[in-house]
């Protein structure tokens, strides 16, 4: 809402504050000001100049050469205006100052005569359209004094952010009421206006008078319709006082009739509409729902298709306007208009909202109707509009105001308990204090048993209908900052700290400790990366919800590749979405993804660079899975998602019950556009569940009392046999004293047959009861070798078996 400071001060004569002070007061009342514009900033350098002498220009008939006193003695100025005369004062721009549009005035020669400055018309100053001559100021002023403040033209426009519950603030009177209270509002007489004797004729569903008939067919959507007729108007430009008010509030003047309605809209918040009465058949106004297939051409020139039931203002034949949204071009006020029918109505906010949304438009009128127009303010508004029209466009008002009122408004009454005020606000307010806080805002308070009976004024009858709404008004009027700031005791809550968020903490600690950077990707994905479609997406790239987190991370890897990086380690945790959740909503689960490429450590001269590889990835996967599913998970080769990972270089992460909880692998080259210098990219995606799987406390095992003995065993394993099976055999079948098996070597070539590889296992023997002798351990190893041969046909590599390190 754009508000003019001078207009506010005109309706609230006691409001003696600057624009900045008004802005901060409004902010603390809940209507923050987003910007303050000094409307005369563009003419700040303009001063008052007195023309001392005028003589004809020697070389041009239409020009004069003037001596102008701009405060620093007389200077010579060449002027082209016909109305310049000696002794009068005009706005004057001295050399070096600027005009609106940032035009800097320079010393020039015009037809051989020097000119040092410029005398201005209203239009040149951005103050109006008058360009017939320079703006002669009535009265005498001191030459050189600043122009705008001296002649009272300075003004500020305040851009107020009005919350959707406060339709009452969409007018100058409404804003002024917040600042000075109901009692400080005065509607000043406007130039040339008089109070007309108009009698109201009320009825329902139809009323006749002033030569027209008005009928409401849909009282659910149209609660009240007032109409007035002014005959014999002359449509033309508005006088300067009216036009400049509108401009100050950010509106464009159109013509004197339309401007009068806009003036009332901006001053009182009541939308009005003027019809050219000659274009209203009958003349009769019918307020009814649209028929199927009906159309209307609106003022913006659009041919609008109307939904059935949408509320229209019609004559007996066709639609003239969309109620509360926009008028039609057919009945528009134009230069030929002589008789005006003025509409001042109250429409159902929900109906206006539905209509303007269906039409995909919003207007000053619909914005106000949606938020609620004061049901008690119609008559004042239409009378003021009639006065202004007669004053600016002439004509004669018909003596009857028509008032079709199928739904007379009664002020709501709310009971307010002072103890409830204290219960919610924490501070005791006496009943008298409450009354003193509420009444300036327009509420009327009366006594009731144990409570205050509060009558709600029309302008707050949409949002203040409950006791708690009044309690907010009390807090607001008292001032939020005046409440004390003392913290009381609190009881512990019943909600446990969310286990998934705790799991996030643990994973973050692990990965950050391992040198990974946490990325933030969004849930959006293009169509080929998601199953769930967004109905109204912002872009095609964000048309679906992702089915993996890894997708976004790979995108981030590309971003970094493109900026010269080759060592990249990223992770992110978030929701992924699949079709087919319960009740039509998507299935939503939480995942971790990791992407890595480049070197394992920063370069150092003392060691060779080594890139990430499948073993680092597998190790990382095992570590992460152990964080998510402690003690009950496995990592094994297998295909998780062949759209992401290269065949044959992919791991499956499984839970204890065998279900797949994730995958990891070498990202396919066609998934990431990588520069030539880049190494392979590795990725991992892991389902996190709800994090509720508890972390068992570690169970202490007594430390061994007897020394361990190690033996290395190199086995020739054929390529057809996965080493994992041998490892598991050793782990499970090596007897009680074999407490650890690890792989320490993998070797091909040399004396190893080409179809085999040599895998070195380190076996660690230890007994809880005695010191193992070398011979006992050797016997155990020999037994194992024998059983391996029986089980797998695997032989030891000759000469490679011996004591451990």
């Amino acid at each position: 809402m754009n508000v003019s400071r001078r207009w506010l001060q005109a309706v609230a004569p006691g409001l003696d504050l600057g624009a900045g002070e008004i802005a901060s007061r409004l902010a603390m009342l809940g209507a923050p000001v987003e910007g303050v514009t000094d409307l005369t900033a563009g003419i700040a350098g303009v001063v008052i100049g007195r023309v001392e002498r005028v003589r004809r220009h020697p070389n041009a008939d239409r020009l004069t050469v003037c001596e102008v006193d701009g405060g620093n003695g007389a200077v010579q100025v060449v002027c082209g205006a016909p109305n310049v005369r000696a002794g009068a004062c005009y706005p004057f721009v001295p050399v070096g100052a600027r005009l609106p549009g940032n035009v800097r005035i320079k010393r020039v020669r015009i037809r051989g005569q020097e000119s040092r400055g410029m005398l201005c018309s209203a239009r040149e100053l951005g103050l109006g359209t008058d360009h017939r001559g320079i703006l002669e100021l009535a009265g005498q002023f001191d030459p050189g004094s600043p122009f705008a403040p001296t002649v009272g033209l300075d003004d500020h426009r305040l851009d107020i952010e009005v919350s959707p519950n406060r339709g009452d603030l969409l007018s100058h009177v409404g804003v002024a009421r917040e600042l000075v209270g109901e009692g400080g509002i005065r509607l000043a007489d406007l130039p040339g206006t008089i109070e007309h004797e108009l009698a109201v004729r009320t009825g329902s569903p139809a009323v006749e008078g002033a030569g027209v008939r008005v009928r409401i067919d849909d009282p659910r959507q149209c609660w009240r319709y007032m109409a007035a007729v002014v005959s014999g108007v002359r449509v033309g430009p508005s006088p300067e006082w009216l036009a400049s008010r509108l401009r100050a509030a950010g509106a464009h003047p159109i013509n004197n009739v339309v401007d009068a309605t806009n003036y009332v809209l901006l001053e009182l918040g009541q939308p009005l509409h003027a019809f050219d009465l000659a274009r209203v058949a009958g003349p009769e106004i019918v307020v009814r729902g649209a028929r199927q297939g009906e159309t209307v051409r609106t003022l913006d020139g659009e041919q609008r298709k109307l939904d059935e039931g949408m509320l229209l203002i019609c004559d007996p034949g066709e639609a003239l306007a969309i109620a509360g949204v926009m008028g039609g071009s057919e009945s528009e006020i134009g230069e030929g208009t002589t008789d005006v029918l003025l509409e001042c109505a109250l429409f159902n906010p929900k109906g206006v909202r539905a209509a303007r949304r269906a039409l995909g438009m919003s207007t000053d009128a619909s914005h106000r109707f949606e938020r609620g127009v004061d049901p008690a303010g119609l008559e004042r508004a239409i009378r003021r509009a009639v006065s202004i029209i007669v004053a600016t466009a002439g004509g004669e008002p018909a003596p009857t105001l028509l008032d079709v009122c199928p739904r007379p408004w009664r002020a709501p009454v709310v009971m307010l308990r002072p103890e409830r005020v204290e219960q919610l606000l924490g501070v005791r307010f006496e009943a008298d204090d409450i009354v003193d806080l509420l009444e300036p805002l327009g509420y009327r308070c009366g006594p009731a048993a144990g409570a205050i009976k509060v009558t709600i004024p029309g302008h707050r009858s949409y949002d203040t209908l409950r006791e708690v709404d009044l309690i907010e008004e009390i807090a607001r009027a008292h001032g939020y900052d005046r409440f004390p700031d003392s913290m009381g005791a609190f009881r512990p809550g019943t909600v446990p700290d969310d286990p998934l968020l705790r799991l996030h903490d643990r994973l973050r600690t692990t990965l950050v400790g391992r040198g990974f950077l946490e990325a933030h990707t969004t849930a959006f994905a293009p169509a080929d990366e998601g199953e769930v479609e967004v109905l109204n997406p912002v872009s095609a790239e964000e048309s679906h919800l992702r089915r993996t987190v890894l997708f976004g991370l790979l995108h981030a890897v590309e971003h970094n590749f493109a900026r010269g990086a080759s060592d990249i380690r990223l992770f992110d945790m978030g929701a992924v979405f699949g079709a087919g959740g319960s009740g039509g909503s998507p299935r939503e689960t939480n995942r971790l993804a990791v992407a890595l490429t480049g070197r394992r450590r920063p370069r150092h001269w003392s060691v060779e660079d080594r890139p990430w590889d499948e073993w680092e990835l597998r190790g990382l996967a095992e570590e992460l899975v152990a964080v998510v599913l402690p003690g009950e998970c496995s990592v094994e080769p297998g295909t998780f998602d062949s759209t992401f990972f290269e065949e044959g270089c992919e791991f499956l992460l499984r839970a204890a019950d065998g279900s797949v909880v994730g995958g990891a692998g070498k990202v396919r080259a066609d998934r990431v556009s990588a520069p030539v210098r880049a190494g392979p990219v590795w990725g991992l995606e892991l389902e996190l569940g709800d994090g509720a799987r508890g972390r068992p406390d570690p169970a202490f095992r007594p430390l061994p009392a007897f020394p361990a003995v190690e033996r290395d065993l190199a086995l020739l394993i054929p390529d057809s046999l996965p080493a994992r099976r041998v490892l598991e055999f050793l782990e499970n079948g090596g007897g009680r004293d074999l407490v650890g098996v690890s792989v320490f070597d993998l070797f091909r070539g040399g004396d190893v047959p080409g179809t085999h590889r040599s895998v070195g296992f380190r076996l660690r023997y230890q007994s809880g009861r005695r010191t193992l002798t070398d011979s006992a351990v050797d016997r155990a190893v020999r037994r194992l070798v024998h059983r391996l041969k029986e089980e797998f046909g695997v032989e030891p590599r000759v000469g490679a078996t011996g004591p451990g390190r």
């Binding site: 909202r353 409950r466 708690v468 700031d485 009381g488 019943t494 950077l517 109905l535 997406p537 990086a565």
Partner: protein, 343 residues
Amino acid sequence: MSEAGSLLDELRALEREAQDAIAGTSDPAALERVRIAFLGRREGRVSRILRQLGGIRPEARPAVGAEANRVKQVLRGALEERERHFAHERADTGTPALDLTLPGRDRWRGARHPVTRVVDEICDIFARLGFTRARGPEAETEWYNFVALNTPLDHPAADEQDTLYLKGGGLLRSHTSPVQIRILEEYRPPVRILAPGPAYRRDTWDATHAPAFFQIEGLAVDEGITFVDFKATLSEFARRFWGPGTRVRFRPSYFPFTEPSAEVDVKRRVVGADGDVAETAWLEIMGAGMVDPAVLENVGIDPERYSGWAFGMGPARIAMIKYGITDIRTLYENDIRFLSQFA
């Protein structure tokens, strides 16, 4: 007695001789030769004296032994000191054998995302005020996102958040407030929770808007919770988060699910490079208010008995203020040059 006495004299003479020899060495190799000559296990002169212990009277032996040990200690100390002297000399002459001024073998430094840092910090502060963390789905229904939160779809308040709808039903939550409803449905008061998580709006990317953004919801519901508690708790949070001397301001505002509603602003004290203390402009940090009784009724909690307050905060915006980031898109590009600044 005389044998013992001569051994003691010999030891003391040897001590003086060794001290001179040590002081006279000019390099570590010479020092090592002196060490062997005097303290060598087999041929060292102290050892040789000790080997003569057997030849003296048993009652005199402890005294000689003790003296020999004292001399050994002294000489070892002198040797070490001389060694240190050589080490310093090496460093001073600039011909180091091992240049330890070179950088060590570095590791990759990981980092939490700046928004996570802010979320964690906020949750930590509130944890000390008795709050736990909670969570809810991101794909929501109109009931949880709007209706239960006292926001009818035919009211202009629903326009404030341009919502993304999903094919097949549902929508992406436009704020984290639906978690209020889900938690109050599941748990009875007292409830003190924070719900951090993503929310979504139909905004196009620009310097200050993102269609997906983080939010933190806060909710406290119990008997006897008042506007004074609300102000006090959030002020306490703001001072802990933004630093001592921070001023906090509550302005009336409007949210359909709180009544009274407020915007909370802070004015921080910043110490400039020259040590001068200055105050920032007022910064909007959250929208908040007392839980609207209609919300409590919607989850079956008696608003005459229970009351509460709630807030919604944007950690991305706070991270931008805190770390001086000017474009919100920076937070989602995942440029490692940016992310590693938070290591």
